[in-house]
Subunit: 548 residues, 2 copies
């Protein structure tokens, strides 16, 4: 028996065929989104804007599944008829405006070219003003709404984006019958749901991005939404009243889509979750295990048994029951840019090609921590955790006339490691245990220098997920549990996930220096980040030179 | 009648033949120092170290003068016999350890390869610890010593360097009979002085770098020097007791050197001054006029009539009567790196060639101030004025994933402009009038973008010296006055100096934005620089984004 995991990333979609018995990956494929710049629609006048054409998702869906199945067929015994379920994970919050038939506005001729009628990609930050206003209104009128997401509502999230659309493109907003998160929309299409209010929405997106909670009546009440804009209150009835964890099915595969994809009709479709949430499952997340998916940005996921109480944790993106594993609180944190920062430095600023990364890594791999006298802040795309502020920017401190391109490259890696440590420390401060860290994503697999720096900076042993497609694997695991191949998630994870043999252990000498550098990082971080409004930074440069 | 100006820069020496009647430049030549990296001896283990081989100075002297005279001979009426005097200016503080016969230690086989036996180039910062200690000891025991140099003694200066040599290379120190500033040593060689205590030392170097003043008994007293090291107290007797302004002659050209250079024997040699001091004269310095020599670093010079009283100005490098023009206080300030910062960014970090500067300038020349959202600190080589701290380092703030190489290039230019404004404001705060700014140096002539930014940032019209060899011209003017071609310096300056036709006037729109950016610069400057030890930097990044 097999299941299929479909993982929608920022630039491409992957499909993965998995054997339920042991998690063996029989076939996979990646299809790039055809539109825009690397799949993203941009606005040269506003670097905050990032949209995606919904048609790209369906194009990639059909192509990637067919390719993955074709690859799997090379394995003896595999037959597409033995696929018993499929799961979908996507980026988010990536809401799509749809009409009354669950068809994206962008699919109609009228709106096809309008950037506001597209999917609003997770990393779109155009709605930073709205986010700040929602934060303020919630703090004043419904503090409970934001207590679980670090008391700050983000510009990357559902209501900020919808409100911004209403403000800058009222005609698009008026034309939208409803808005659907990408992770809910793809399953709904596969299940043939043609009424957006009937979509089985996942609690992952709802709880983390849309202020949904069973503690109040689901989505924010109309009275509160009307404080933002009456049009949002009016929209509420055309969204949803109940969101589900992964014990529920999003529907069954229609005959039409079964034919398009080459799969059995009627097989169950797992509830949609965000990529890193299913990725956490694919990495073997459990209480005490932090999963880091390190890519263009980083997401950190942990779980705490729903039988315990979890305090509100300032700056953490969300604490949502059932968001990752049924029966557990799902905790999410993250860094807005990681791989993107290295790419920015090497390819945009230094005008190097992709191969330059390897040369720079080699140049600084053997340098001792602190040897460059540099300290950087990893805020080139704002700070998600623990400051939750998209209007922060990157900093490089300690440049001399001898500072090299490679030294700054390493300082940027270290900056992201300090950002990672700030997250781990914040979890621990609030009683969330972290005994092990499992990493996934291209960078975790391919960059041993970065992994060792992360171990040295955080003091945690860095493990690496056995699957290089952890998100798709997690989706496939969810489908396997749903289809009855395993009795529950822990059993399915035990059977279907693994770790790579390599483990990066902290080196005490490096740890000592990084502890000092981290203290300096926090001084600068807290000052520019607003945690300390009477900072004494007069020693920072001198301490950096002393470490050097 | 003609005089000759000889200008020792950081990487090369220039000779210039000037007509006394009108300042016409008849012939010039530049000779690079043959040793080390671009004429500088470096230590790969310590980027603070910068030395120079004294033999390079004599090699360059002979070659440059002969070439300049050869060039001048192409002008009808010129004859080397009509050269009536010569002047020398050099970098500084650049002290040379010499033996009892005024021969540099480095000229002996024993010390030829020893880095500590060479000339300690102005930009050598190895003695930063000693500088801090001298500052502290002076503050405690002789506050008057440092009151005129901003209450801070620099690592670039005479006593710091000598003390550092005594500490790290005691054998070199013991072998040195005396130490002579480069600007005094070259004239002394030309004048055939073979006893270092008989050298006519200039008050420019003595007053600005060696704590010499007529207010006390010349150099610091032995009791104070013994607090540093008894060996320094013991050395005092082998230095000098009196220093002179440019009304005095350093001596007469020996027959031997006259022959080597192709000049008349016995002509007077002007007292030696630092390059920018004679450069200020070559730019027409007068009360109310600030002269900026913009090159790898920047020096700022002003004068105030000796009949007035000048208060102590914190952070200004020096206030010395007669240091520039006889009868005036000479005021000096500066920035430790300017052109060096652009070179560092383009050539070392971005690995571009020298032509890249032009491309980057073109890319950002038409951008509006503030458009990049970037703010930088110009401290890649420490800060000379107004913080007087070599242990400060460069900073770049405001990086996003869209920040380009060219935008950072412009931000670095702006950073040096903010540094320039901080100096001008400091002068004005203490009652030194600045009505006009005359710039000299390669950057002032070749970079109209930078000059316009300086005008917009400082609010001053930027004028450009008519001579592109202002330092050598100033030396030649000093020689002309000394030889009697003109009755005094103001007359000689009126006749022999000029301005280029171009003038960069501040544009009100740009000024408005730069006023805001400068306020942010000062926030960050004062915080990292230690002027404000309870800084609130939480708005900096947001204000930068708002300006953008």
């Amino acid at each position: 028996m097999y299941t299929l995991g479909i993982d929608y990333g920022t630039n491409s979609v992957r499909a993965l065929v998995v054997r339920c018995a042991d998690g063996a990956e029989l076939g996979s494929s990646t299809v790039n989104y055809p539109s825009g710049s690397q799949g993203i629609l941009l606005d040269p006048r506003d670097h905050h804007l990032a949209r995606q054409h919904p048609a790209d998702y369906l194009f990639g869906l059909e192509k990637s599944v067919r390719l993955a199945l074709a690859a799997a067929k090379k394995t003896r015994g595999f037959d597409a008829k033995k696929v018993i379920g499929l799961g979908v994970d996507t980026t988010g919050s990536s809401p799509i405006p749809v009409d009354a038939h669950n068809v994206p506005l962008a699919s109609s001729k009228k709106w096809a070219k309008n950037l506001h009628a597209q999917c609003w990609l997770w990393k779109d930050h155009t709605s930073w003003r709205e986010a700040a206003e929602i934060t303020q209104l919630a703090a004043q009128h419904r503090p409970q709404f934001i207590a679980k997401c670090g008391n700050t509502y983000s510009s990357e999230w559902f209501w900020s984006k919808l409100w911004h659309c209403r403000t800058v493109a009222p005609k698009v907003f008026a034309a939208a019958h409803s808005w659907v998160e990408l992770c809910d929309w793809v399953p709904s299409v596969l299940a043939g749901i043609t009424d957006p209010t009937q979509i089985k929405r996942g609690i992952c997106a709802a709880g983390h991005k849309s202020l949904y909670s069973d503690d109040w009546a689901g989505l924010p009440d109309k009275e509160f939404l009307a404080l933002l804009d009456p049009a949002l209150a009016e929209l509420r009835d055309r969204l949803y009243t109940k969101a589900y964890d992964a014990t529920e099915s999003a529907g069954a595969l229609t005959a039409e889509w079964a034919k398009k994809l080459g799969l059995p009709a009627g097989i169950p479709i797992a509830i949609g979750e965000f990529d890193v949430h299913y990725g956490a499952i694919g990495c073997g997340v459990a209480e005490g295990t932090l999963v880091k998916v390190i890519g263009t940005s980083t997401c950190d996921c942990g779980v705490v048994s729903a039988s315990k109480s979890v305090p509100d944790i300032p700056g953490i993106c969300g604490i949502v029951p059932g968001a990752i594993l049924p029966g557990f609180y799902g905790l999410e944190a993250g860094q807005s840019a990681v791989g993107d920062i290295f790419k920015w430095w090497v390819e945009l600023v230094c005008e190097g090609n992709a191969a330059r990364h390897a040369r720079l890594t080699q140049e600084v791999a053997k340098r001792k921590p602190g040897a460059s006298g540099l300290l950087a802040l990893d805020w080139q795309n704002g700070n998600r955790t623990i400051l939750v502020d998209p209007l922060l920017t990157g900093v490089i401190i300690g440049c001399t006339l001898h500072t090299t391109q490679a030294e700054i490259y390493r300082a940027l890696i270290e900056a992201t490691a300090f950002g990672a440590r700030a997250i781990i420390e914040r979890f621990k401060e609030y009683g969330v245990p972290i005994d092990r860290v499992v990493c996934a994503g291209g960078i975790a697999e391919k960059n041993p220098l970065l992994m060792q720096i992360y171990a040295d900076v955080t003091g945690c042993t860095m493990l690496v997920s056995g699957s290089s497609q952890a998100c798709a694997l997690g989706s496939a695991i969810s489908a396997a549990v749903l289809a009855g191949a395993h009795p529950d998630f822990p059993t399915a994870q035990r059977k279907m996930t693994s770790l790579k043999k390599v483990a990066f252990k902290p080196k005490p000498d490096a740890q000592k220096i990084y502890n000092q550098l981290y203290a300096l990082y926090r001084q600068v971080h807290d000052s520019f980040g607003g945690l300390n409004k009477s900072a004494d930074l007069s020693r920072v440069m001198k301490d950096l030179l002393a470490l050097k």
